[in-house]
Symmetry: C2
Subunit: 716 residues, 2 copies
């Protein structure tokens, strides 16, 4: 037995030998990683790059969902093209009646810089404080899990209230390590952000859905924004008097860029990973969750396409939804393939068995009980999620539910309201309700709702929501359900008008209860059932927080026993990943070289979307007008490159920095073959970056821009 | 004008800078290429490797259609698996009732070595003599092109007759440079060749049609044969008294093999290339010939599959035909794509225009008139070929036509008969007629004939064969044609019986004219028309020979003016190509590494044909049982590799030799992306080889063979 265990642990260690570049590290962890980060080739000051207030981290910002960075002392911001499509390109196309996707957008003067959709902001992290003690204060006095949950929420609200000392600041309490640690993050939110430059779609989205998650890649996935403030340096929504924001610092841009094997790092805001799950959770996701989700996505994509196929206006409104679903569909499908190709479950089972051996020797009875409870609850939740896969689906009902809940919360003092329904959240709620304007069509919404109901109906009766099912006659023939739904969409009025819909946020619960809008009535009728469900989930959340914290504490010891550093799963907070520019061989004898070139763009040109190359660009390529951006190694201007950095969704738009902390590109994608690395880091995983030299080449040669280039600090 | 010309020539020269590895050289040309061959890394004696009677060329043999080489002093021969499928594997599967494709075949003892299908031979080149003067002797006295043609034929026959001093020898007069040069090749034909080893299909044909023409590749495309002779060292058909042939020499096998950038050469019998065509010929092939041929192949593949889909016996009989058509279909489709991707026509047009400039300054009026005539005739022929694309198609009619023609020729003295119908050709005719046995089904043959007639009917009436069309009622409604065809297949008797069919070769023309077999009657009725057509073609052939010779003489001067060596298009004679092992980047940033590995086999395994890996092999791979064949560079046993050698069909089975002339593998395929190099050498073209170390590994580890390995001369 002893021997077996030893061998297993050895195997486990061997398996982790090549994981040097794993890790989405909190900046403060970097000094601990000195050995690895030096080995990767970083020669600078580790304390400096781990400090939020020093260069380069003080130039890194978030767009909320995407990452970005200041690249001039005039508030110029670099991010991905795909991060500006909605709030900047779509918004300004609608506003001006011009197809900015097709033409691209270059503000030739500062005056020409274009506003963003309401709600688009730039967030600059001001402070990160560990608040675990404060969040959990008094939880040992709790009488029930729901009570405990309330204490935690109340503690969080207090922390946030005390933090948000002026409306410029937004604070949030973030759970790290599944609630084992809490940190409060204070961010300055700049509310006037303008579009400065986006290339035409033929560059910014070259390859479209076909090349999405793929390498070799040739996408100019870059765009430039600019943050504005009042002349008094205060954050204020779009205003003609506003002036460019002067950031504390901005990234210098390296003109020579990087080459193969060079050190690179990315600082950004990765969204979600699932690397600290228990084996039963992973197994459930891969065996059941993924296939069911893929089926859900596929059926909904087909449905939305079918429902909008004969009407360009409708198609445009659902274009964002469909492409979001398609993106997920490709990703989850890639995760299914990756799990198979990299034997994820077999490997993770071995790791798990080793952990169990460790646990049996190195943990308390309570910790073991907590683990049993954790596995039980997560299993319950996953089963329920499967059953609820097709629950809902009506954006109109979603709006009614939000409005009704908001009215309910408003009956309490502001600080006691549920997070998301406080005064600080009002603008966001308004924007969400307004978005139906350009993302919603009643007939399509009804079609989606009906389809999902027909699938939800397949779930065992006692596992469905009772009142919801009863109101929609799900126990009867589906024609009855159809009758009710048709009636609801026919009779709804005020919800369908944007102004009236938003005005409902100011309506009292009393008045809302008298509304005759069928969706408001429906939201009222299912309110209690929803609150019951929420109560159950809150109790579970409290329980999970305890059990996961306990599990993490075991994991910390386990990692320590192996001399490994642990890091929290991605949670939308600032992280740093470092490594090297390098190619990859995923299939025997097919080596993806680290850099792609301008010539590859011409090679992919088919003359038709998404591989239609602009004639001007094609001409520049054929004439080899490389300017000063050509690289000997590839004999051309580099377009995209890959590195072994560890990123995920949310890292989009993250600046890539060289060993000197200079800007050398933007991370924008992963590779479909290794996208399963969200669950388990794969050494072959690669991050795809757009090269800074392609950005500069495009500005100089293709756009004939001087204004923006002159504004940047370009280092030879 | 002068300046323009200079620039054009410069451009032309620049375009040819990287063509160092172009060339399928006659061995005697090698000493002239000293500079290039040394640059590629060859360090040995150039006179030795250019000498047919020295090592290694004296170990190189032909199988007729495929190349091969002796690899032991006991007559053991290495060639490709795909070269032994028909006459060895199919034949012995039929003979023994065992599926040798599935099981593979390993003779554990010498007695177990299995016979070949009748007619399979090994040819050992004995002599190559330039006979241009002899072939053209007296042609200046000709009264007409047909007379001139006759003189040439008669000269050839005399040469052959004088050469074939014993039945062991086969001589042929081969046209080089489109008839500008003739060479007589004398070959020793060994008639008892036995199957010694073929791996199971899961190795020998791994990847099947899907991986055909593709790299990265993992095919164990190797097989071993053995030549036998009488105890008196005479060639004799299969006989129990025969003993293994002792070749003059055999290739030593390098165990360490080659690595990236190493010098390699291939000596073999490439079939056909078209690199010395005029531009109008190339243009016609690419613009018209290829698309029409591809359509023809596709429609015939679909038809044969449809006609045999419900009957396994029929399907088996047409399996060879279908796969041959599919192979061509993939190849021609690849040529169409390649011509487009490599801008072949634009490039060749530039080259042609340069040549025209050269011609206007450096040729006689007669040469210019010859070129005009050449372009006119080749255009006529190509147009006619298009019109005749669907002419024929009945194997039964083909047999009848052959029998009838044979009877006609027999009315003349043997040496006056048309080549192909002389006494020396009798065995081949018998085998061809016998092959209907396993490659023919009357119902399928009729279906194919009817389909082709329906397409031939679409050709303009005056461009169709008159008597043929009239006999088959092609001017009437197609039901009339169907009626005639149905009747013919219903009434045919003797032709359908193998013995009777073969016996017809011994029937006199007089008796044949009385036959009532409708196909014999039909063959008789179209005989005159065919002969007229043949006469026209012979006149054209004579004219072409003159015009092409004239064109080649210009080309020789043109090449010389550019310091380039010229080589004859492939014509099934012994050629040598040399170069280096190297990867290739065909698409931006996708680099195909030069070697594939055992692990790639496991990676491609789907458990289903053609990617089903034998469990024993899979197990060896998983356990990394590499034996002594592992290579540091790839950390595994190499399976296939690529080089920049210049090969084409017919080179299949060619031994690949290292700088010491040792055996390091077998060439077996080209890459579909560059297959257009049959028309114009493409620097990115690569030859795919199976590595000798994979052959040895398979024998030792997978087959547990010692007998054969011990017989080889393996050099560490």
């Amino acid at each position: 037995m002893k021997n077996i265990r030893k061998n297993l642990v050895l195997l486990f260690l061997m398996m982790n030998i090549s994981l040097a570049n794993e890790g989405m590290w909190e900046p403060s962890q970097l000094p601990n990683l000195a050995k690895d980060i030096r080995a990767a080739g970083f020669k600078g000051d580790l304390n400096k790059i781990s400090n939020l207030f020093e260069y380069p981290l003080n130039a890194i910002v978030s767009l909320g969902g995407c990452s970005a960075a200041f690249i001039s002392d005039q508030g110029l911001i670099a991010t991905n093209y795909h991060c500006v499509e909605g709030s900047y390109l779509q918004f300004n196309s609608d506003r001006t009646g011009k197809d900015l996707f097709k033409s691209g957008f270059l503000a030739k003067t500062i005056e020409a810089e274009a506003p963003s959709a309401p709600g688009a902001k730039v967030y600059i992290t001001q402070e990160i404080i560990n608040v675990t003690v404060e969040v959990l204060l008094g939880t040992d006095q709790s009488k029930s899990e729901n009570h405990r949950y309330k204490i935690i929420q109340s503690n969080k609200k207090k922390l946030i209230k005390n933090c948000e000392i002026s409306p410029e600041f937004q604070c949030e309490v973030k759970s790290f390590y599944s609630g084992e640690t809490y940190q409060m993050i204070k961010k300055l939110a700049l509310k006037d952000v303008r579009l400065v430059y986006a290339p035409p779609q033929s560059i910014g989205e070259f390859g479209g859905e076909i090349d999405n998650w793929m390498y070799p890649r040739h996408t100019g996935d870059f765009a430039l924004l600019r943050a504005y403030v009042t002349p008094e340096n205060k954050s204020q929504e779009y205003h003609l008097d506003n002036i460019p924001y002067k950031p504390v610092s901005h990234l210098k841009i390296s003109k020579t860029g990087i080459q193969e094997n060079d050190f690179v790092m990315v600082a950004g805001y990765p969204g979600t990973t699932n690397r600290l799950l228990t084996y039963p959770e992973i197994e459930s996701d891969i065996k059941t969750g993924f296939p069911s989700f893929v089926e859900f996505l596929k059926s909904n994509i087909d449905l939305m396409k079918e429902l909008t196929k004969d009407d360009q206006k409708k198609a445009l409104k659902y274009r964002g939804n469909i492409s979001g679903y398609e993106n997920y569909y490709k990703k989850i499908s890639g995760q299914i393939d990756g799990a198979k190709n990299f034997n994820l479950l077999q490997q993770e089972k071995i790791n798990w068995d080793n952990l169990l051996v460790f646990i049996s020797d190195n943990s308390t009875k309570k910790e073991q009980d907590d683990l049993t409870s954790l596995i039980k609850i997560t299993n319950e939740i996953k089963t329920e999620n499967l059953n609820e896969r097709y629950y809902g689906g009506s954006a109109l009902l979603g709006a009614a539910t939000t409005i009704y809940r908001h009215a309910f919360e408003k009956t309490k003092p502001n600080h006691e309201r549920e997070l998301g329904y406080q005064e600080r959240d009002y603008d966001r709620l308004v924007n969400r309700l307004r978005s139906l304007d350009y993302r919603f069509e009643a007939s399509v919404d009804k079609g989606i709702f009906l389809y999902r109901l027909s699938r939800y109906k397949e779930v065992e009766k006692k596992k469905r929501r009772k009142i919801f099912s009863s109101l929609l006659h799900l126990e009867e023939d589906f024609s009855a359900t159809k009758g009710v739904i048709n009636q609801m969409y026919r009779d709804s009025k005020e919800l369908l008008d944007t102004d009236e819909r938003i005005a409902l946020l100011n309506t009292s619960l009393y008045k809302l209860n008298q509304s005759e809008d069928p969706f408001i009535v429906f939201a009222k009728n299912i309110f209690e059932e929803n609150m019951e469900k929420e109560k159950l989930n809150k109790a579970r959340a409290s329980q999970l927080q305890k059990n996961k914290s306990s599990f993490i504490k075991i994991l910390r010891r386990f990692y320590k026993s192996q001399n490994r550093d642990i890091y929290s799963d991605a949670n939308g907070t600032l992280r740093v990943t470092f490594g090297n520019v390098m190619g990859v061989e995923l299939n025997d004898a097919i080596y993806y070289k680290p850099f792609t070139s301008l010539e590859g763009i011409a090679q992919k040109n088919t003359g038709a979307f998404p591989f239609e190359v602009d004639l001007k660009q094609l001409n520049l390529i054929h004439k080899k007008e490389y300017g000063s951006y050509s690289v000997n190694e590839i004999g051309s201007v580099p377009v995209n490159y890959i590195s072994n950095l560890d990123i995920t969704n949310g890292n989009s738009g993250s600046s890539t920095l060289n060993a000197k902390g200079e800007f050398v590109g933007l991370a924008f994608d992963g590779m479909i073959e290794t996208i399963i690395s969200d669950y388990k880091f794969i050494p072959q995983a690669r991050t795809i970056h757009v090269d800074s030299r392609y950005l500069l080449w495009t500005l100089e040669k293709f756009e004939n821009d001087k204004r923006l280039i002159n504004e940047m600090t370009i280092i030879d």
